[in-house]
């Protein structure tokens, strides 16, 4: 029982990281219908910003986090302006290919600039452990889960309360109608990319103190996060979060009780099962088609 509880607690930080990346992916998917795999590179950028800010410039981890979010958000907007916006007139498949091309470019630029050495950011809560009913979590795991809840809460408020957030939801529900009532699509799209980029950057920073990373992390993270988005329902915010929690749990339980080799597969297996049973995903509004 204690092992199961420990595995569930360990899932906290896996799920939190997945939730942030999946949330950004699903926002862009909902607003622009772009499978923006380049967000993996923004996650990677966040991790490298955190690494260099804390090691080379001696910045505190808690200042590196907003800095990384800013950098990743700007990069996301740059991707949109330079690549996705000119490609508007093409089909979704074309933008997906462009996204993969962009991921390839950014990941390999990082390899050229930073090399293939594994990096790890110093844990900002060294040695802190919290006992919980026979199992323990580290202070950093607790911080990570808290940061995820805070960020998701902020995104939620932004979408529900601010004019730009409302516009974003309107465009994602009915693009034609939103344009008819005079919403500026450019502003909404920039907001979606900035927000998604900041979330990916935050996830990268938060992960950088627990998971050693190199530039290849860009592809691995985004692929799994996208499987979560399909599982939860494409374009659905609650779907992304519930999907991340389910996949994080399933992964840790498979890893602890069955075999770590196959833990990597759980997200994908869940995705395939959902496609067979309910192609729209757990929370998807409609069957995903063009």
């Amino acid at each position: 029982m204690d092992t199961v509880l420990q595995l569930i607690l360990n899932a906290l930080h896996t799920s939190s990281l997945y939730a942030l990346v999946a949330l950004g992916l699903t926002l862009v998917l909902g607003v622009l219908d772009i499978a923006d795999f380049a967000q993996g590179a923004l996650y990677m950028a966040g991790a490298y910003v955190a690494f260099y800010a804390t090691s080379a410039f001696g910045l505190s981890f808690f200042l590196a986090l907003p800095l990384a979010m800013l950098v990743a958000g700007l990069l996301g907007v740059a991707n949109y302006v330079a690549v996705y916006r000119p490609l508007r007139r093409f089909s979704g498949a074309t933008t997906f290919i462009a996204a993969l091309g962009l991921l390839l470019i950014l990941q390999n630029l990082a390899l050229l600039a930073f090399g293939a050495d594994f990096r790890l950011v110093r844990n900002p809560f060294p040695g802190v452990r919290i006992a919980l009913a026979g199992a323990t979590i580290t202070g950093y795991q607790a911080f990570l889960a808290g940061a995820m809840v805070a960020l998701v809460g902020l995104v939620w408020l932004f979408l529900k309360r601010t004019p730009v957030g409302k516009a974003l939801r309107a465009v994602s529900q009915n693009r034609g109608g939103a344009l008819v009532v005079g919403l500026d699509p450019f502003r909404v799209e920039v907001a979606a990319f900035a927000l998604a980029g900041a979330l990916a950057g935050a996830a990268g920073t938060l992960a950088s103190a627990v998971n050693a990373f190199d530039p290849h992390v860009a592809a691995t993270v985004v692929i799994k996060a996208f499987a979560i988005v399909i599982f939860g329902g494409m374009g659905s915010v609650p779907g992304a979060i519930v999907g991340a929690v389910v996949v994080g749990l399933a992964e840790n339980l498979t890893g602890g009780l069955v075999s770590t080799q196959y833990a990597e597969l759980t997200a994908f297996v869940l995705m395939v099962v959902v496609l067979l049973v309910r192609p729209r995903g757990l929370f998807g509004a409609q069957e995903a088609k063009l």
């Binding site: 219908d33 499978a35 690549v83 000119p86 490609l87 093409f90 089909s91 979704g92 498949a93 074309t94 933008t95 997906f96 290919i97 462009a98 993969l100 091309g101 962009l102 390839l104 470019i105 990941q107 390999n108 630029l109 390899l111 050229l112 692929i223 996208f226 499987a227 399909i230 494409m234 080799q261 196959y262 990597e264 597969l265 994908f268 995705m271 395939v272 496609l275 067979l276 192609p279 995903a288 088609k289 063009l290």
Partner: protein, 336 residues
């Protein structure tokens, strides 16, 4: 097609004697190539072009034929490669291994196609992309079967027996013979693709590409037609995988990753999806370009590759062949 549009398209296309002459010229070049380029490195490139043509032609049945952007094609190549390598290593004759490779890859195509084809548009592409990754994880982790990341060495060369005549293609050193074998399969794949394109099945695919809902409403069983095409394409990819395995005598999961699936798709796109020559021009162009970029660092060549890809999407959406065709057409119009 009405008589008017038919005559219009005939007026724009080259007349058949020209096409026949072009075809003969292309065949001549393909047959003469290994005698012009006798170096082992150059001949290796020729073999790789031939194998990639088989893969891209099969992928084009989906991409160019039905507008299905499948991004997991290397996985089926891998299934074919492992099936054939393991069987022939275990003592089976090569033709048995080849047929089993086609069968196993087609079966894998069925298993993937049934759930993936329930999605349309780029959601289908994303799922095939992810399936390609699952395949790599499986090939890496099923160590008892595939030896995992260490790879499978010592795969026997292709040996063919026919009425007492026997030939083994020792392709690691002697490449010319194997090149002709691969070329024969590439021509067969091209012929099959061309015939399918003009059949009722090919027209159903074209209807799906044009407008899937419309195709459905005029009675095309869209799901079944798409699934058939997907299984067929996977089977042919399995054939290419078998050729590759017995050509290099060594396979590992690294060859069949999503990167290679992506490469194949890009070859199709750069050559020109849905054109007859595109699936030949694309692999030839990009295999040679990849070789030319090899002296640079791998990371830098990937950056150039990615940038080139985005450029092609924007500037030449119908690829080199489509672009050349448009150029010829506008020249013809200027003359008239």
């Amino acid at each position: 097609m009405s008589a008017a549009t038919r005559s219009l398209s005939r007026g724009v296309r080259a007349s058949w004697p020209w096409r026949l002459a072009a075809l003969a010229l292309g065949l001549g070049v393909a047959v003469a190539a290994p005698h012009v380029f006798t170096g082992i490195a150059a001949q290796h490139l020729l073999v790789m072009v031939a194998i990639n043509v088989i893969l891209v032609v099969s992928l084009d049945l989906l991409v160019g034929g039905a507008g299905l952007i499948s991004l997991g094609h290397a996985a089926f190549m891998g299934v074919g490669a492992y099936t054939s390598a393991l069987l022939v290593k275990g003592g089976a004759a090569y033709p048995t291994g080849l047929l089993a490779a086609i069968g196993a890859a087609a079966l894998a195509g069925l298993v993937v196609g049934v759930p993936a084809l329930r999605l349309r548009g780029h959601y289908f592409s994303v799922v095939t992309f992810i399936v390609g990754i699952i395949a790599t994880i499986l090939m890496t982790n099923l160590v008892d079967l595939t030896r995992g990341p260490m790879g499978l060495p010592g795969i026997p060369f292709v040996t063919l027996r026919l009425f007492g005549w026997e030939h083994t293609f020792r392709s690691v050193v002697f490449k010319t013979g194997f090149y002709y074998l691969a070329l024969a399969f590439a021509l067969l794949a091209l012929l099959l693709r061309w015939r399918l394109g003009r059949s009722r099945f090919g027209r159903s695919l074209a209807a799906i590409k044009g407008d899937e809902n419309l195709a459905e409403s005029v009675g095309v069983p869209t799901y079944r037609v798409k699934l058939t095409a997907f299984v067929l394409a996977a089977g042919v990819a399995g054939l290419a995988g078998s050729l590759y395995a017995h050509y290099t005598a060594f396979i590992s999961p690294d060859t069949f990753t999503f990167i290679h699936s992506f490469d194949l798709f890009v070859m199709n796109l750069v050559g020109g999806a849905g054109t007859f020559l595109g699936p030949v021009v694309g692999p030839a162009f990009l295999t040679l370009l990849g070789n030319a970029l090899r002296d640079l660092s791998p990371a830098l060549s990937q950056v150039i590759y990615g940038a080139l890809l985005i450029l092609v999407i924007v500037a030449l959406p119908d690829g080199l062949v489509g672009g050349a065709r448009r150029l010829l057409r506008s020249l013809g119009r200027a003359r008239a």
